[in-house]
Each structure stands twice: as structure tokens, then as C-alpha cells.
């Protein structure tokens, strides 16, 4: 192996400016050479030096709410699987409950890019006042703003695909041992979309593994923390999905 050549490639890569052909050549060379302590040391040192270059710049203030928004992404309370699996209503095996359970399985906002996109679009969608608005965020992506008195909540989804991102602000604390539960109502039958707990301050960001499908009304109720499979209270937020 020609270490000088490799070092040249590694320097270019550390700076983010390696040409595609050289990147491919570097990968091939490294793969052919196998585990190489000198290569690893060079890579580490050059990557370290490149990362330090950032400190030549004067820092720039960030949005003071950014840290809260990021933290809120993991404050969302997952549906307690034990509570659901315990089948509090006594059904030993209920396919509908099974489906609801699946829908209630939360993935903390995992796609940072998605969140960033929704943050931008939802910032518009969450403006107070007015009626439910729906806008196309990206090709085939839909943003829906909920109506009601419990803060601001919006959701983004791609029709026909599983996965809904919820983004909220100023959501009141649902109370001790209480959560917000999302309902997808089709033909008058509510199906749980899972439960959400906003961060202190009322911010919320969550990805829910559910498919909106042919739902004609989204609703949010305040429910006990065990996330019941049928609503026990009146909706505090609603969003008709009257896409014509």
C-alpha cells in the first residue's frame, strides 16, 4: 500500500472535498489492504484536525428553543406495552386490540430530517386561529392542523403510507397519570393511534407508526396513562380529513 497516496485521500475526505473517483479508490485500497493500524491512525488524526477547523470560526447564536425541541422528541411517552399486553379489558386474544397495539407502538422521532421538515412546515400550520388547514409539504405529503382549545397540534403524513409525525406546542399538561390519546375515526369507529405526553412547556414531537388510511376524522382526548382502547372523554382537538 502506498500510504502517502492513502494519506492524501484521507486528507481530502476529512475536509469533505474528496472526488467521487478518489473516494472509491480509497475504499478499494483500504478494503484490499485489510486492517491497517497506520491507516487508522492517519484517519483519526486527519479527521480530528479537520473537526478542529470549525473552531476557527466565531460562534453564532442558535435558536434558544432548539434544545427544548430536540429534547421534546424523546419526552414522548411510549404506550406501555405491559399495560396493553395485560389486556385490561380481559380479552385473551383480540385481533383488533392487536392492531391497535401495533399502531400504538411509538418510535421516537427517528428521522431528524423529517422532523426538521415538519418543524418548518408545522411552524406555519400551527399558527393560531382559522379553521383546519391542509397543505402539501412535499410531493404527496400532507400537513393537517387540529382545531380546539388545547394548544396547537399538527400532523404530517403521506397518504397510503404508514407513519405519521405529530408536532405540537402550547399543549396543556394533561394532568397526573393522564396522557393525550390520538384517535383515527372512520365511519364513527375510533381506532387508537397511541398516546402522547407533551414535554414541559407543552411542546411535542412524535412519530407514530400508524396509517391514516381512509380515516375521516382525527381526534385527541385526554385519557388515563394506560392508554385505553376506546375513548373515555370528549375530544379536545379534532381534525377532519376532508381532502377532496
Amino acid at each position: 500500500m502506498n500510504h502517502e497516496r492513502v494519506e492524501e485521500w484521507l486528507a481530502g475526505r476529512a475536509l469533505g472535498g474528496l472526488n467521487e473517483a478518489d473516494a472509491a479508490a480509497l475504499e478499494a485500497e483500504m478494503a484490499a489492504h485489510g486492517d491497517c493500524a497506520k491507516c487508522r491512525r492517519l484517519e483519526r488524526e486527519l479527521t480530528e484536525a479537520a473537526g478542529r477547523l470549525a473552531f476557527a470560526l466565531d460562534p453564532v447564536p442558535v435558536d434558544p428553543g432548539m434544545a427544548d425541541r430536540i429534547l421534546a422528541a424523546r419526552v414522548v411517552a411510549p404506550v406501555a406495552p405491559t399495560a396493553l399486553e395485560a389486556s385490561p379489558r380481559g380479552a385473551p386474544h383480540d385481533e383488533v386490540a392487536e392492531r391497535r397495539r401495533s399502531r400504538g407502538t411509538y418510535t421516537f422521532v427517528g428521522v431528524a430530517a423529517g422532523i426538521a421538515l415538519v418543524a418548518v412546515v408545522a411552524a406555519t400550520a400551527l399558527r393560531p386561529g382559522g379553521r383546519t388547514t391542509m397543505v402539501t409539504a412535499q410531493p404527496a405529503q400532507t400537513i393537517v392542523r387540529f382545531q380546539g382549545d388545547a394548544g396547537h397540534l399538527a400532523m404530517a403524513y403521506t397518504p397510503g403510507e404508514s407513519g405519521v409525525i405529530f408536532w405540537g406546542s402550547d399543549l396543556p399538561d394533561p394532568g397526573a397519570d393522564r396522557v393525550y390519546e390520538i384517535w383515527m375515526i372512520q365511519g364513527g369507529t375510533p381506532v387508537s393511534g397511541g398516546c402522547l405526553t407533551p414535554a414541559p412547556g407543552g411542546n411535542l414531537a412524535a412519530f407514530v407508526d400508524a396509517e391514516v388510511g381512509t380515516t375521516d376524522l382525527m381526534a385527541v382526548t385526554v385519557e388515563p396513562a394506560d392508554c385505553p382502547s376506546a375513548p373515555t372523554g370528549e375530544p379536545v382537538l379534532t381534525a377532519p380529513l376532508d381532502v377532496a
Binding site: A14, L15, T47, A49, R52, L53, F55, A56, I70
Partner: protein
């Protein structure tokens, strides 16, 4: 926790008793346990520099904000993504931000050209707040060292490094923009990075 981190640093034979790095690693260890204060510590310390880097590369404040948010979201979501064998926490963080920024620039090259006029405004905004943030973040010594190392580079090497790192240009693009042969750009990048590596080694904070 701090003592444990220092012990870990020694056992890893990193050749550094860098307290700053020890503190970063302690924060990262706590972050793995979901400690929000640890996240805020890391965020407060490095997000303004990350924003400066992203802004320098993408040249649009709102895109820079998004990049920083995405990068720190990834850290919050998966702090285990950091591999201590590959360098310091701060370099890892900046590398994450830089990678995203360069990716964005490459994808949005045409769009970037359309908003070139916005650059002076972005830098004015940066200058307005820089001093107070420098004080607040407490990394002036690090900045002094890196700036001194950059200043020591021959002009032609510094130019290549800055065009690649801060402007997100590929070596081919640097060659095209400057009229320098591609091979010369590559060798200047290598020589410049060797000097930076030497200058920064042993004085890690």
C-alpha cells in the same frame, strides 16, 4: 463520574489528559442514560460553533439552523454513534455537522447560487453576536490555537483548506475555481492538513 471518565481516558491510551475532552465524554456517557442536563451541556458548548460552521458552508441561516438541529437530534437519539477510537467528541460533532452541510450544498448547488446575495446579511448577523457568545461558551483558547495554526499555513495551502472545508467545495471544484491543477490542489490539501495535524497535536484542550 468524572473520575471514572478520566480513568477511561487513561486506559484508552489516547495520549491526552485533556480535561475538556474528559468533560465532553462524561456528558456523553450521561446522555446515553437520557440525562437532559448532559445534553444541554453539550448543546450549549458546541451548538454555536456548529451553527457557525453550517452557516459558513451553506450560507443561509435557516438551513444552518436545520442542520444543527438535525445533527444534535441525532446525538440525542443515538449518543452511542460516537466512537472514542476515532477522535474527540468535539471533532465528531463538528464532523457530523460538516458532513450534513456539505451534503446539502452539493444537493442544492443551483439553489445556493441563487441566494449568493444573502451572504453579507448572514455574516453581519454572525458578527453582531459573536463576542458575547465567545464569552458565554468559553472556548476562546481553542479558537486561538486553531486560528494560529491556520495562520501559520502558507497562503496557498490555507486557501485550499478553506475552500474545501468552509465552502464545501470538492478538490475538482477548487481546481476549477482557482485554475490550479487538480494534482496540486490534492498535494496542497495534504500538506496543509499535515501541518494542521502537527500544530494541533499535543495541545488538545
Amino acid at each position: 463520574m468524572l473520575l471514572a471518565t478520566l480513568e477511561a481516558l487513561r486506559s484508552e491510551s489516547l495520549g491526552s489528559d485533556d480535561l475538556s475532552e474528559a468533560r465532553d465524554r462524561e456528558l456523553l456517557a450521561r446522555l446515553r442514560g437520557g440525562d437532559e442536563d448532559a445534553f444541554r451541556g453539550l448543546f450549549d458548548r458546541y451548538a454555536p460553533t456548529a451553527k457557525a460552521l453550517a452557516l459558513r458552508v451553506v450560507r443561509q441561516a435557516h438551513l444552518a439552523e436545520e442542520i444543527v438541529q438535525e445533527a444534535f437530534m441525532a446525538v440525542w437519539k443515538d449518543p452511542a454513534g460516537y466512537d472514542a477510537d476515532r477522535g474527540s467528541v468535539r471533532s465528531w460533532l463538528m464532523g457530523t455537522v460538516h458532513h450534513r452541510a456539505v451534503d446539502l450544498v452539493r444537493r442544492e448547488e443551483a439553489h445556493r447560487r441563487r441566494v449568493e446575495d444573502a451572504i453579507p446579511e448572514a455574516y453581519e448577523d454572525q458578527a453582531d453576536h459573536a463576542d458575547e457568545v465567545v464569552e458565554a461558551i468559553g472556548l476562546p483558547e481553542e479558537r486561538r490555537i486553531v486560528r494560529a495554526a491556520l495562520a501559520e499555513l502558507p497562503d496557498e495551502q490555507r486557501q485550499v483548506l478553506e475552500m474545501m472545508y468552509f465552502e464545501g467545495r470538492s478538490q475538482t471544484q477548487v481546481a476549477e475555481a482557482t485554475g490550479i491543477p487538480l494534482g496540486t490542489v490534492k498535494s496542497r490539501a495534504l500538506l496543509g492538513m499535515r501541518r494542521m495535524r502537527s500544530a494541533l497535536q499535543g495541545i488538545e484542550r
